[in-house]
């Protein structure tokens, strides 16, 4: 592999090193982002190695390359590898495209690069960025993208300059044997590399570009029919089905789903029992392929509502006033002992599964208010009987084990574990069949307790194996999970032990606003639990998830302050950026328009009142000849402002004149000539062949003058004379100070007897 060295003039001319180092960093950043998003270390390691080799070569002003033929062969091999990978593994198109881009970049890194190759590398890197943006929405990727854009801006600027330099270096006239020597071209096009100017230009260009990015992000029209796939994934567990093992990490945002006020005896109060805090949305009773679903379709021709309640039971009813800021689905949350739900339109029906459904079309931004009335738990016999009578207690399956479908091996393992946990209770249930209900409840509670004790709560499921059943994975390998895992596992075990159980999903009331006396339900309050059926009690809520563990996991997934802080950022990211959808856009625009309207109204009001009073004052002045206070104020204000402006302009003019005067003086080198004349008077010999610098240095040696002010003086003079830089006021001040210091030193030197 040959190494080519460049002369200093070549480097100065082509600015190879200045372009290559940031370009290599950009390529590495692109590969890093994609590899981390995909969690594929192979591409990261290989790209790091390739970039590292090129970087070391660039640092030593060398370029490392192989024959172009080998590069082309490498590209062909990469193409074949990617085609094979795509056809065999069935990765998404963006993943495969990302792999292909990385491989091509690796090949091109070992090519002898020209301007065309740099353009290709830049374009490839941009495509890699887009691929990464399409496969991930991790918060780190947001910061990474900003860093990437900053660097890409710098590279693009340097590359634009380099192209011009290359053209100047390569152009050859018809009559010339070759291009000019690099040194000569370098002298023709630049004196030095303008790093500072490029950095400033980068800042100036980058800020508006980023602002434009934010504006487009805020204003770009989104799909109004549905939320984006990611926001759905990250915002809430609204899916009617529970699909275990699909998402690797669950993020629950702080978005408010509903506010809820419990009214008892005409006054707002807290939930009376734990069971009253569970707001049910869906009931799922069929388990297959790690997924919970409904056994029957949602029956909208359900039971009649409202129900007429006996007078004896009316006193015991508790009411909930629920406000949903945005409604996204027809199912409405309510406690499982709900008797009636009322809304303004009275368009709510109840299914046979006791799920409450809103009839009619749903508008995406519709807010919705409804009222529920329910019996607080524990239920009395009368209440249960009434609920049964009105059909609020659905019947349980006669053969619960049939509602669970596991593989044979998994079923035997899970059943074995469940039997080992409840061995004594099962035996007693067998012996005492008349107490089956009590033992069923005891079995369910035993299982829930064991799950709470032996298994831990987590939202991070990156270690979950999607190839085996989620319940089996949770019970025997993973041993940690979130509420859906706990509820699913308990329901599967109970059903296998012939305890009728189903999974319910909804919200758990936790956050209470003491000022407004209402519960605030957020997306992060989404929860899953189990309901166990006994003929005596109906469906009884048993939550196998540890409440404290869950709260701890949601509120503080890490126990350090920093992790909490990072979590907050993540929540914000998913809430404000990833979850920014049509609804957020609409609410933001409404907010902005209302603010603008308010401002406009206020301004208009103020202006009209001002004009009215002015008019009144003028009328008064014209008719009565009296001067009102407001006119006096106005005149005084105008006078003060005009005087201020006048003085400011005068000051500015004086300053400019002074600067000009000083600059002219400096230009004419009066100071330096005066100083030279003084030196000659003091005995400095005339040397017409010496330069100014040499003269002053010899004077410094002869009269023992301080070197620093002298050097500053000469440098500034040279900079002005040859660099064409106008001296600033600060420069002139410095020169004057230096001149005074030099005069003092010269006086001291001349007065000292030698």
């Amino acid at each position: 592999m040959p190494l080519e060295s460049y002369t200093q003039a070549d480097i100065q001319l082509t600015e190879r090193r200045r372009l290559e180092t940031p370009l290599l960093l950009l390529i590495w950043m692109g590969c890093l982002g994609f590899s981390l998003a995909e969690e594929n270390l192979f591409y990261l390691v290989s790209s790091t190695l390739a970039v590292g080799v090129n970087w070391f070569a660039a640092r030593r002003n060398k370029v490392v390359y192989i024959n172009r033929w080998f590069v082309n062969i490498g590209v062909i091999i990469a193409t074949l590898i990617v085609i094979a990978e795509y056809s065999r593994s069935g990765h998404s198109v963006f993943l495969t495209l990302g792999h292909y881009i990385i491989l091509i970049q690796l090949c091109k890194l070992f090519e002898k690069k020209k301007s065309r190759d740099y353009i290709q590398l830049l374009v490839l890197n941009l495509l890699l960025l887009l691929c990464t943006a399409l496969i991930t929405a991790h918060p780190l990727f947001g910061f990474w993208t900003i860093a990437y854009i900053v660097l890409a801006c710098y590279v693009a600027m340097v590359f634009t300059l380099k192209r011009g330099l290359d053209h100047a270096a390569e152009v050859k006239l018809h009559g010339e044997l070759g291009p000019l020597s690099p040194r000569r071209v370098a002298w023709n096009v630049s004196r030095y590399w303008p790093s500072k100017t490029i950095r400033r230009a980068m800042l100036v260009t980058l800020v508006p570009s980023l602002i434009m990015g934010v504006v487009v992000f805020i204003l770009a029209p989104r799909n109004s029919e549905k939320m984006s796939g990611l926001s759905e994934q990250f915002s809430a567990d609204y899916d009617p089905n529970i699909k275990l093992g699909r998402s690797r990490e669950i993020y629950l945002s702080d978005r408010i789903v509903m506010t809820l006020q419990i009214i008892k005896g005409g006054k707002p109060s807290l939930a009376q029992s734990q069971a009253s805090k569970y707001m049910r949305l869906f009931i799922l009773d069929q388990y297959m392929n790690s997924t919970w679903s409904r056994s029957q379709n949602l029956d909208r021709r359900g039971l009649s509502m409202p129900v007429v309640i006996d007078e004896t039971l009316t006193d015991k009813l508790v009411t909930q006033n629920i406000h949903m800021p945005h409604i996204n689905q027809p199912e409405l949350a309510a406690p499982y002992t709900t008797v009636n739900i009322e809304s303004a339109d009275n368009n709510i029906s109840v299914s046979r599964n006791n799920e409450f459904i809103m009839e009619g079309p749903i508008r995406p931004l519709q807010s919705f208010d409804y009222k529920t009335s329910f019996f607080p738990t524990p239920l009395e016999t009368k209440e249960l009987a009434f609920l049964r009578k009105v059909g609020r207690v659905p019947k349980a399956s006669a053969r619960p084990s049939r509602s669970v479908q596991l593989t044979y091996a998994a079923q035997s393992k899970v059943l074995g574990l469940a039997e080992s946990w409840c061995e004594d209770l099962l035996e007693k249930r067998k012996v005492l069949p008349e107490l089956r209900s009590k033992f069923n409840l005891a079995i369910a509670q035993r299982i829930a307790e064991n799950l709470r004790l032996d298994y831990s709560y987590t939202l991070d499921l990156t270690e979950a194996d999607p190839n085996i059943d989620a319940v089996e994975d949770f019970l025997f390998y993973l041993k940690k999970g979130h509420c859906e895992y706990f509820a699913s596992t308990m329901a599967v075990m109970c059903n296998l032990l012939e305890v009728p159980t189903h999974v319910a999903t909804g919200f758990l009331l936790e956050e209470y606003d003491t000022e407004k006396n209402e519960y605030i339900v957020r997306n992060r309050d989404a929860h899953a639990w189990c309901e166990v059926y006994t003929p005596e009690t109906g469906w009884e809520i048993i939550d196998p998830t540890s409440g404290t563990a869950r709260t701890e996991a949601i509120r503080r997934s890490w126990w350090t302050f920093m992790s909490d802080y990072v979590d907050q950022i993540r929540f914000l990211w998913y809430e404000k950026v990833v979850g920014y959808d049509f609804n957020s856009q609409k609410s933001l625009s409404e907010e902005a328009s209302s603010q603008a309207k308010d401002l406009w109204q206020k301004t208009r009001k103020y202006m009209s009142s001002l004009f009215k009073s002015l008019r009144k004052s003028l009328d008064n002045l014209i008719i009565n000849g009296e001067v009102d206070l407001i006119l006096v104020k106005l005149l005084a204000g105008m006078t003060v402002v005009s005087v201020l402006i006048f003085f400011l302009l005068l000051l500015r003019m004086r300053k400019q004149e002074k600067q000009q005067e000083q600059a002219d003086m400096f230009k004419k080198l009066k100071l330096l000539y005066r100083f030279l004349a003084m030196l000659h008077k003091q005995g400095l010999p005339y040397h017409p062949d010496l330069t100014l610098r040499e003269k002053l240095y010899s004077a410094a040696e002869q009269f023992d003058l301080p070197l620093q002010p002298l050097e500053e003086l000469i440098n500034l003079q040279y900079r002005w004379r040859w660099g064409g830089v106008e001296p600033t006021a600060k420069d002139i001040r410095t020169v004057r100070q230096n001149f005074v210091a030099l005069c003092v030193a010269l006086d001291a030197a001349s007065s000292t007897p030698k």
Partner: protein
């Protein structure tokens, strides 16, 4: 230059989207489609940044050129097919720096130029950007406008500004190589009363004499003067100037390309000869026909004579008169002490009697035709390559 003058001189700035910019827009369009289809938030941000970069590129590039003035520093004369180095003086009246400015001559007919480039022009600063050009044909080349352009910062939009600076460049015929000394050395030499002031170093030693007022101090012979009352000076022999008189027949008998090429070659030979002989201290005179009639230049030496003679050669167009009119018009005094060279397409076809009379009036007479030129004159290789 004050701001008012700059504003007056400032011409309109045009924005142009190059290929890279169009490709960038197409890519941004695809990104937009992907963003709307996928609803990925970061895609919208990237899309916005891309649009922002495009807009900023245009605004930035436009602002950069708004405060730049340019002045072309070009010699008035150049040799055909030789590289002429010149400079563009750029001045930035704005406070902010300008980057990546390229300069190009607009519509330079008959001239090939290498674009000038200024990588960094500091705020309120100046820069001389070196450039070069090469003229393909002799004559007067009119350079009109300079095109200032920049693609900084991102190369997506190019802003351009025309600066009108008309200038005429006189292109002398290309210089070749004469491989035989055509001129006979004259035996005439005279001693001067005192050493020559200008050509002292080239003279030969003649003798010593006493110093007189007005003598050059450099020629005092200090060693000889050491024991005397008056200084002694060296006396040098100063050869009288040689005189060359060129008579050219530049009339075209037909519009044939070959004839035109032969005439151009003849002119190149004449230019080369004039340049060589003037460099050797000759006085050179010339007679040829121009559109108005015979053009006779009396022999003279120096830079002015060189420019005058070569300018006339550069401006030769299509005269209607030939040697039969020119030769009688030459004053006899110009030919008396001159070595005369007559250059015409074919001396054999000329009036021999007229030639004999001419020869009798000169010190030396040589007649050259195309055949003779073939063995004497080697053309400029770049001109020969172009087949002119």
């Amino acid at each position: 230059m004050d701001r008012e003058t700059v504003r007056k001189r400032r011409s309109r700035i045009h924005l142009r989207v190059p290929l890279a910019g169009w490709l960038f827009l197409v890519v941004s369009l695809l990104v937009g489609i992907a963003a709307f289809r996928s609803s990925m938030p970061l895609m919208f941000v990237i899309l916005g940044v891309m649009w922002g970069a495009f807009l900023v590129s245009g605004i930035f590039a436009r602002r950069m050129l708004s405060g730049v003035t340019v002045h072309r520093e070009l010699p008035e004369r150049a040799w055909q097919s030789d590289t002429l180095y010149f400079g563009y003086y750029l001045n930035n009246v704005r406070r902010s720096s300008c980057l990546g400015i390229s300069l190009r001559e607009l519509n330079p007919y008959g001239v090939e130029d290498a674009c000038g480039y200024c990588m960094h022009l500091p705020g309120r600063g100046r820069f001389r950007s070196g450039s070069r050009l090469s003229a393909h044909r002799r004559g007067r080349v009119r350079l009109k406008d300079i095109l200032l352009s920049t693609r900084f910062p991102f190369g997506l939009v190019a802003s351009q500004r025309r600066v009108s600076q008309p200038i005429t460049l006189v292109v002398w015929p290309a210089k070749g190589y004469i491989n035989r000394d055509l001129l006979r050395r004259g035996a005439t030499a005279a001693t001067t009363a005192h050493p020559g002031r200008q050509q002292g170093g080239q003279d030969e030693f003649f003798g010593l004499r006493e110093y007189r007022m007005g003598d050059n101090m450099r020629w005092i012979h200090w060693r000889r003067s050491a024991g005397r009352d008056k200084p002694i000076v060296r006396e040098m022999a100063h050869p009288l100037p040689e005189v060359l008189f060129l008579i050219l027949d530049v009339r075209r008998n037909s519009l044939d390309e070959l004839v035109e090429a032969q005439r151009e070659r003849l002119l190149r030979f004449a230019a080369t000869l004039i340049d060589n002989t003037l460099g050797r201290g000759y006085q050179v005179g010339m007679a040829l026909a121009d559109e108005k009639g015979p053009c006779i230049i009396s022999p003279s030496a120096g830079v002015g004579a060189r420019c005058e003679l070569l300018d006339i050669l550069a401006n030769v167009r299509d005269p209607r008169i030939g040697l039969e009119t020119i030769i009688p018009a030459i004053p006899p005094r110009d030919l008396r002490d001159a070595q005369t060279i007559l250059v015409c397409p074919d001396p054999g076809k000329m009036n021999q009697l007229q030639l004999a009379r001419l020869a009798s009036r000169c010190k030396n007479f040589t007649a050259l035709g195309h055949k003779e030129l073939g063995s004497i004159f080697v053309d400029n290789p770049h001109v020969a390559r172009e087949g002119l």
